[in-house]
């Protein structure tokens, strides 16, 4: 099954949940936030949210910035 994580296509085996995807990606679960098809998925719902073909997932964290330092890299697309 193919999904898009932060704009990148990824092949996943089976039909994992969002929580399983985050574990697979070895991301620190603290202080990140996740959007599935442009809607925020609350942390408590990660394990009950099953992924589907062509889902678009955005996973964000925080970086240094003040007033627009990183103007060329929009955070979400």
């Amino acid at each position: 099954m193919k999904v898009f994580v932060n704009g990148e296509g990824r092949e996943l085996s089976g039909t994992p949940s969002l929580a399983e995807l985050i574990t697979q990606l070895e991301l620190p679960a603290a202080r990140i936030a996740v959007e599935l098809n442009r809607e925020v998925v609350r942390r408590d719902d990660w394990s009950s949210t099953m992924l589907n073909e062509d889902d678009r997932i955005e996973i964000v964290h925080f970086v240094g910035g003040g007033v627009d330092v990183y103007s060329n890299s929009s955070c979400v697309e």
């Binding site: 990606l25 330092v69 103007s71």
Partner: protein, 264 residues
């Protein structure tokens, strides 16, 4: 302690019921190292710092940038990098989910060269976010009418620019800030962007701003720690001068010594 000093030391910056002793809000970008950032933060006395939201890199395990911030700091996530109201709203929602804070520095950029705000998109995003319970602090052009619209939309504070982001030019239109202060006496006005050095921050405060938000002026100084201290003092000095009420400007001299009794 003089009356004015007493008044200043008791006076807090209040944003949506939250009290801050420091009127300086600073950024977390462009520092040469995390250690340098941390010492500058400490020297500045700021109690609130702003951070940007970005995609997590998937190719490496990234440590959390937030771990480098003192836990006592209030984190103000921003929507830097967004060019539409929709992206800014999505970014704010993600930030709230990750940080469990309803504060957001709303920034919708209209143009890459100037980084001037897209005021129309900013207002649209502000309306949506206020409805969703966010405490919205919008960056916008220093325009009174826009300021009124943002306040009407329910923004907790308004953040007019002093000059283009990262330009260090200082307050380019002092008349606009003064008019905004006079016409909106109850609004919380935080000058955001364009300050270059301590005197710029003092001028913003003397014009009646309630606070100043800056990043580059401190981060790009040769010695960010020293500049952070300078900014802290400038903001206190400017606030005190504003409260003291400056003398009127005159074109001609006005002698300070008595004119009578001069020897002839």
């Amino acid at each position: 302690m003089s009356t004015a000093t007493a008044r200043v030391s008791n006076e807090k910056l209040i944003i949506a019921g939250r009290e801050f002793s420091s009127r300086l809000i600073i950024g977390t970008g462009k520092y040469r190292s995390y250690d340098q950032m941390r010492s500058a933060h400490e020297a500045s006395g700021a109690e609130m710092v702003t951070v940007a939201v970005r995609r997590v890199p998937l190719d490496r395990s990234s440590e959390s940038f937030l771990d480098y911030l003192s836990p006592s700091l209030q984190i103000l996530p921003n929507t830097a990098g967004c060019y539409t109201a929709e992206d800014a709203v999505r970014t704010a929602r993600l930030a709230r989910e990750a940080l469990q804070t309803d504060l957001v520095k709303l920034e919708v950029i209209g143009d890459q060269t100037t980084l001037f705000p897209d005021n129309e998109q900013t207002l649209e995003a502000a309306r949506v976010l206020v409805k969703e319970g966010f405490v919205v602090l919008p960056y916008f052009s220093d325009d009174l009418i826009m300021a009124k619209k943002l306040l009407d939309a329910g923004c907790a504070a308004i953040m007019p620019l002093a000059a283009p982001i990262g330009s260090g030019l200082g307050v380019q239109n002092p008349a606009n800030l003064r008019i905004m202060r006079e016409q909106l006496p109850d609004a919380t006005i935080i000058v955001d962007a364009g300050v270059g050095t301590a005197s710029d921050a003092a001028i913003a405060m003397e014009l009646g701003a309630d606070g100043v938000l800056m990043n580059t002026a401190i981060a790009e100084a040769e010695d960010p720690g020293k500049m952070a201290t300078a900014m802290k003092l400038a903001i206190e000095a400017g606030r005190l001068a504003y409260l003291a009420g400056r003398m009127p400007k005159r074109l001609y001299a006005s002698a300070s010594s008595p004119l009578q009794g001069v020897i002839k």
